[in-house]
């Protein structure tokens, strides 16, 4: 039955709107990432139906990625990591009395990018899933390795540390009962006999570790509240027409970055901004309030947010850390993200498509109406927020898997603090935990089917292509560094 004719349409729309509003509130709060917000609210999945839960979190993600821009532009405090460039490029508008112009640019560019990316999601995902249905075990295992390599290469200059984080995540995924033989591996404490459960791990690594880190390094967000009572002037259609090439460029960058596993909306925003800074005619004025400097990261991050759902739905490989968290909602409902989802639960996939499209339209409308009251949420003192996060984390973990899950959550919180201390990125750890079982299961299944012949498993075109690309992604940072240093020494001569 079409969604628009379904009797469940009203509850679905209610949940989508609720997801948008909650995503707004989460995204606006400094020190509280949308990844953390979704992780903390994952237990809500238990009371929602499958389709409604996925629609809710998809809507929350789309709205949350944008919402950080509100405080970034108004108060120079990015509410989320994706909005750092919005703070740098958007706040100068507020400083010279034009907050409405900057916010209008951010809202409309994000909305248009999200809607356009939703249409790509609807067309590309089924096509990718139909190709993936023909994949063999070797193809999937190699794709998982490619996903790992992409995550590591997205760590920028810290490729080695990204690799450490990824290997750690992959190792953590091996703890617990082996899925083929049933033997318990590395279960040194009874709490690990069920393996590393994803939701408490995510809650501990992202939510609790962040609170611990901010407290022990005294990095408590604070700001001076400014008056929002003045009338705002919004941009006109002509202003957006002038930005058409910037929008198209940034949208493409965001979409491809989002599809690539591990890169995420933050990387997309930085990349789009840096490319715009190189080719824009007004690049000298960047940082002083230039519309294209703000439009580029805003467009890219929302395109990337929707783009990261493409590999999640069609291949079962999350395109970002937040998409990996949304995978938790699939697990709660015993769903397997990937091409079989399109075959076994097509109505569910259509619901997610519908939710993403509606959410991107809804947050544009909601922004113009609710921007000012929602921005006032930032007056919440961090101690209140932190205490709430800790309580929610503990009780949420217990709700997910009992007291054992709470101990796992605490263990991962400690791990998160250690990783932050060593400046090792956290996202590859979670992506490793998610991708590890995929790689191992298909690798071993392939070997069993080929009677141990590894060439037969990985020798065909697709696995070779995936593995070659993975190697290229891993060595490319070093190659670029060598080329750059040789170019610099040639220039010096």
């Amino acid at each position: 039955m079409p969604i628009l004719a379904s009797p469940d349409l009203l509850p679905l729309l209610t949940l989508i709107v609720a997801g948008v509003l909650i995503g707004f509130c989460v995204g606006v709060l400094p020190g509280f990432d949308i990844t953390t917000g979704i992780a903390l609210l994952l237990p809500l999945s238990y009371v929602m139906g499958q389709a409604n839960a996925l629609a809710f979190f998809a809507a929350m993600y789309c709205a949350g990625v944008f919402a950080g821009s509100i405080t970034a532009i108004l108060f120079r405090i990015p509410g989320t990591s994706e909005s750092v460039m919005s703070a740098i490029e958007g706040y100068p508008f507020t400083a010279r009395g034009e907050p409405g112009f900057a916010l209008g640019i951010a809202i409309v560019c994000s909305g248009m990018a999200g809607v356009a990316a939703s249409l790509v999601l609807m067309t590309l995902s089924p096509w990718l899933a139909s190709i993936a249905l023909r994949f063999g075990p070797g193809d999937y295992a190699a794709l998982g390795v490619l996903g790992c390599a992409a995550v590591v290469s997205a760590s920028g200059d810290q490729t080695l540390k990204g690799l450490i984080a990824m290997l750690l995540g992959l190792f953590l995924s091996t703890i617990g009962p082996d899925q083929i033989s049933g033997e318990f591996r590395f279960t040194i404490v009874p709490a690990l006999e069920d393996g590393v459960t994803l939701i408490p791990a995510i809650i501990g690594l992202f939510a609790v570790a962040d609170v611990f880190w901010r407290v022990i390094t005294d990095d408590i967000p604070s700001f001076e509240r400014q008056s929002l009572s003045q009338k705002w002037q919004y941009p006109k259609i002509g202003d957006f027409i002038k930005l058409r090439y910037t929008l198209l460029r940034a949208w493409l960058i965001g979409l491809f970055t989002g599809i690539l596993p591990g890169a995420g909306a933050s990387s997309a925003a930085f990349l789009a901004h840096s490319i715009e800074a190189r080719i824009s005619r007004s690049r000298q004025a960047f940082g002083t309030g230039v519309p294209s400097a703000l439009a580029a990261p805003e467009t890219a991050k929302n395109a990337a947010a929707v783009g990261s759902l493409i590999p999640l739905l069609s291949l079962g490989i999350p395109g970002s850390a937040t998409a990996a968290v949304i995978l938790g909602a699939f697990q709660i409902h015993n769903l397997q993200a990937g091409p079989l989802l399109f075959v076994e639960h097509p109505e569910l996939v259509n619901t997610v498509f519908f939710a993403v499209l509606v959410a991107n339209i809804a947050f544009v409308l909601a922004s113009f109406v609710l921007m000012r009251p929602i921005a006032m949420i930032t007056v919440m003192p961090y101690p209140v927020l932190a205490t709430g996060i800790l309580t929610l984390s503990v009780v949420g973990s217990i709700a997910t898997g009992g007291f054992t899950a709470a101990y796992v959550m605490l263990g991962f919180a400690m791990l998160g603090v250690v990783l932050k201390l060593l400046d090792i990125p956290l996202a590859p750890v979670i992506l490793g935990v998610v991708l590890g079982p995929i790689i191992e299961i298909y690798f071993r299944r392939g070997l069993l089917m080929a009677d141990g012949d590894i060439v037969a498993v990985f020798g065909s075109t697709m696995p070779v292509a995936f593995l070659s690309t993975a190697v290229l992604l891993l060595v490319s940072p070093w190659l670029f560094r060598v080329i750059r240093s040789r170019a610099n020494s040639a220039t010096d001569l």
């Binding site: 033997e183 611990f212 932190a386």
Partner: protein
């Protein structure tokens, strides 16, 4: 340097452990420790590279950031105690005490609003959220605490 040696030591230990536990007689059915073994094998060159690489490549850890280790111990201790306390005294008193303790000892807040009204309001909010909205059975503790918690949740 310490990180590099830790990785190398864990990798070597892991490789040895995986080889010892691996059932080579049941190839390919008994490849239980093949994947972890491969990971440890992959970690070895990473550790060696880290050891040999310059600080610019490896990235600098937060040695210049002042870390309040006593605060970390307190935070972990409080959270751990909260989890254990919930099994004994139930959700309501444990949450109230936890919130008050965190606000007082971690964030150094004083006054009756911070230490009484706020934790009470937050505890009620969380009870409603988990019990009414999520229908999650909250721990009720034992003995007299069980009776007390049952009155409200």
């Amino acid at each position: 340097m310490l990180l590099a040696w830790t990785i190398i030591a864990c990798a070597c230990g892991g490789i040895a452990y995986s080889i010892a536990k691996q059932d080579f007689h049941a190839f390919p059915e008994g490849l239980t420790y093949a994947f972890p073994g491969l990971l440890f094998l992959g970690a070895l060159p990473v550790g060696v590279t880290l050891l040999l690489a310059s600080p610019a490549t490896a990235g600098a850890p937060h040695v210049e950031t002042a870390i309040d280790w006593s605060m970390l111990l307190m935070l972990v201790g409080l959270t751990w105690t909260y989890v254990i306390a919930m099994t004994l005294i139930g959700f309501l008193p444990a949450t109230l005490l936890f919130q008050t303790s965190v606000l007082r000892f971690i964030f150094n807040r004083r006054g009756w609003r911070w230490l009484t009204v706020l934790p009470l309001a937050a505890t009620c909010l969380f009870s409603v959220f988990f019990k009414a909205l999520l229908a999650v059975p909250l721990p009720r503790g034992i003995g007299i605490f069980y009776v007390f918690n049952t009155l409200f949740i």
